[in-house]
Structures are given as C-alpha cells and as structure tokens.
Amino acid sequence: MAVSWLSRLAAQSSVPVFPVRGIQGEAALHRLTLTPGVELVDSPRHASILLVAGGVPPDQHDALRRVHDQLPNPFATLWYRSEPLAELASATRVDDPDALPGTLMTAHQELMRGKRGSSPRLLPDEPPNPWEGLGDDGHGGEGMMGGVPYGRPMAMNMHDDIRDGLTLDSLTVTLGPFLPMLPPGLGAKVTLQGDLVQSWITQHAPYPIALESVFLEAREHPVPIAELELARARYHLQRLAFALRLAGLERLALESLRLAQGLSPDSRLEGLRRRLTRCGFFRLTTTGRGWLDETLARRVGGVAARAAGLEEDLRSQDAAYGRLKFTPVVQSDGDTNARWCQTLAEIEQSLQLARQAEREGLYSETTEAIETPRGPWGEQRPGDASGVIDDLLPGLEWDEAMTTLASLDLAAVSEWPQDVTQELGEAPGDGADAAEERRA
C-alpha cells in the first residue's frame, strides 16, 4: 500500500508543533526548542500538533478555539499544565516537563499511523457573515464595494495615511493573544495601511510572567547574590533568544538558550556578543526606531529605562551590592538598539557580579526593594506596561513594530514563582490562573 508506506515515512518526521503560549508556559517551550525531533512552527497551518502550554484564561477560550480550528487535518492537541477545553475533555494532558517531548512524538506518530483520530472541529462550519445567494450576483456583494462578498465586507478607507497622507484602504484586524511574534497573551486591535501600523490599541495585556523563585525569596530574606544574578542573566538570555529567533538567527537563539540553561558564574558572554556583532544583528535588524522618552521609559522600567539613560536600579540601594562596587550600566539612546546593547551589558554585569559574590559569599541585604530583571520591585511588583506600545507602535512598519515589541519587556510580574506547581507537585495552575485573572 502506497499510502501506508507514506504515512510510515511521515511518522518518522520531526514533530511540527504550534505552541499556544499560555500563562507560565514559556519554560517548557524553551526546553522544547532544544529538544531534537521537535520543531516549533509559527503558523498553525504548518503544524500537526497544537500544544497549549500553560493556562489560558476563560475569556480567551474563543480565540483558542479559533486557533485550534485553523490546524489542517490530521492534527492532535496536547495540554501542558493546562485545562483542556470542555469540548475536548478526553484530550491528552501532560504536567511533567520531562514527559512532554516523548508525548509529543508519540502523538504525532499515532496520528500519522492512523491510531489516533484527528481532533474534532470546535466551531460550526459557517462563514463570518452569510453570503451565499445574497446580493446582486449571489456572492454576497452589492454594487462596487458594498455587501459581504464571500462572507466579509471589503476594506474601505477610513483615514489619511499618517506618513504620506494618501487615502488608501486601511485594514483593521484583531491580533493575538496567541500570535507567535507578540508577547504571550498580548491582544490588540490594529489598523494597518500597507505594512505601516496606523493605530494600535492593546486589548489584552500580556500574561504576567513568573520569575524564578529566588526573586520572591529575596523579598523575604537575604539570598545569595550569585544565585540572584545568575537568575537575572538567565532571564535576559531567554528574552534575547526570542528576539534572535524572530530575526532569523536560529543558531544564535539556540546558543543563547543553551547558555541560559547551563549558566554558571564562570559562563562567558563574549562569544555570543562577538558573533552577534559580526553577523550584523545590530546594524541590519534592530533599528533606531522604537524610541522611548523618559516618561514612557520610566513606565516600562528595568532595562528599557536604563537604556533610555535613567540611572535607576534598586540594586544600588543594597549595601551588599555597594560592597561589590555596583554601579548601574546605562545607555543613552532609548531605542531598540540601545535596549539590546543594555541587555547584553547587563547580562555581562550580572555574570561578573555573580563571580565576585560567589567568591566572597555575599548575601543580599535589602528586602524591601529589589531589582527584578523586569524592573524595580519596591512598594509593589512591576506592573503591566503594555499601554506604552499604543503610542509607540503607530508609524512603524510591521517589521519594525515586531522588532520593537521583542525588545520591550512589558508584562507584569506574577505573584507566583516559576516552579510553584512543580515543587508543590500538584496539578497545574488552575488556582494560579484564577489568581492571575483576578489581578488582570
């Protein structure tokens, strides 16, 4: 049988997975990126498995259903630390990160060999607007521009273009919350004219990010500075990896992730930095765009603020850091390029601090105000700053907008540390989800 021969061959292919990045799903996806035989793809059309990594708040279940239905047959779903949709009660659910790659591969193989049926379609097979048999020609349209030809209205011009004032059609779409180029959970209503963003209205804030538990402990009692600084460097390296992947530098993204995975005080960043400069990442990809003024930079905080020249780092208030002769690094430009230079400089600084602190066995002293990698945590945790992009992105081209977004760290910090479910050994964060929703 030709067909069975084909499916046997197909079963051996690497598993194309479309990840839906939910709350606290990032860590598992970082591991999957480094797993052989699993390929994380950007479009659901290119996937045979829909992996929902982390919880999804109920008000985004509709969006999840839409993404689910966009995978071509045959496909399967897998829920990692996430409650499957009610319609898919029998769906495979995995909570152990170590079992995830194996389960993905088994699911793909079973799917190809026909041992597992394709996931059912969740939404009714109806066009967005009824069109058949309607209108002048039975295709739903009326006149030149009217009606809903084939189910959707046609784009009409709304506004003059913000750059050259031509009044051509603008396209309004809602993006996210599961668009792979955006931060997880970010949803927005966007108007584009050509590939230029005309308006950007953020509708859903990105999901709160979970920091490593050492940052939460540092709020309660002194912790080893070396540990704190390594966790900080790890966080930035993972962000860098995302941006590098977006820029088509898969190789350096993996290098960055590997560095993050095996990070120790003796790790060195020079190699990665040299390769980044040599391949032209700073000149060809990151633009001078995405500039934050002082007010906006302060609203975002952390790396973005220091990249804009604000010398704000709560670590300078800590006496232990004072003994390490810590002074914050700053850049002056405040644009995408400056933010990446700042990030690299901070990773280097963190590694150096970690080395020194480990030698001297230093512990952090201040617990009232700590500097998380996301920003200062004094009175309250760093909050959601996604509002700034509403002002920042209009006027940028799609490519610039995505590069700028990747360079900004906007999500609020979650009140739960990263590994809570693993340590408690309990089922995935429904409780955490609920808490996040209350906060959001």
């Binding site: 046609m154 031509l166 668009l179």
Partner: protein
Amino acid sequence: MELLTLFFILLIAAGLGLLIQWLPLRRQPMPTYPQRAPFLGGGLPETHAWSRFHVRYYPMTLLLIAFEMEMMFMYPWAVVFVEQGMKAVMEMGMFLAILSVGIVYGWREGVFKWQ
C-alpha cells in the same frame, strides 16, 4: 530545437507542480470556514485583506522602470564591447553617468526610504 526542449522542460516542471497538488486534493472536502479564516493568533480581521494596498516604495518602482529601460540597451552593447574598444567605453560611460545622476538625485530625495 532549443525552444522545443525548453517547452518540454517547462511542461514537465509545471505539470509536476500541479500534479503534486492536485492528486491528493481530489478526495479532500473543502475545509470548514473557521479553518479558512486568516491566522492572526486567535484574532479576526474585519474585512478582506485585498484592498487598495498602500505600497511604501512606489517612487522606487518608477525609478526602476526608467533605469531598466536603459539597461536593455546594454546587452547588445556588451556583445560588441571588445570589438569596438574605447568607443564603446566612452559611449556607455557617458550614458551611465547621465543615469547615475538620476539615482543620486533619487537617493538624495529619499526615494529608497519607505514613504
């Protein structure tokens, strides 16, 4: 004869491309409407994507047409270049110098930037 060969090569390649698509498609039912919706990460578009799309580099395309028109003269010129020697160098040098002025002017006016 060369053209006939080329014709067969074209036919085979295009036929192969269509056949690979058509053979598995015969038995396949039309995907459902939700599946056919554009992928925007769970979001939806308000309208069709086909529209009066604002191209940002339109002055560049016009400049290209003028330049390309001129380039077509260069192919025959290339064939007789060695034969004609210095005369060909002078003539084409003049011609290219004239047109380079156009490019430099366009660059100064920011034609290669997105409008």
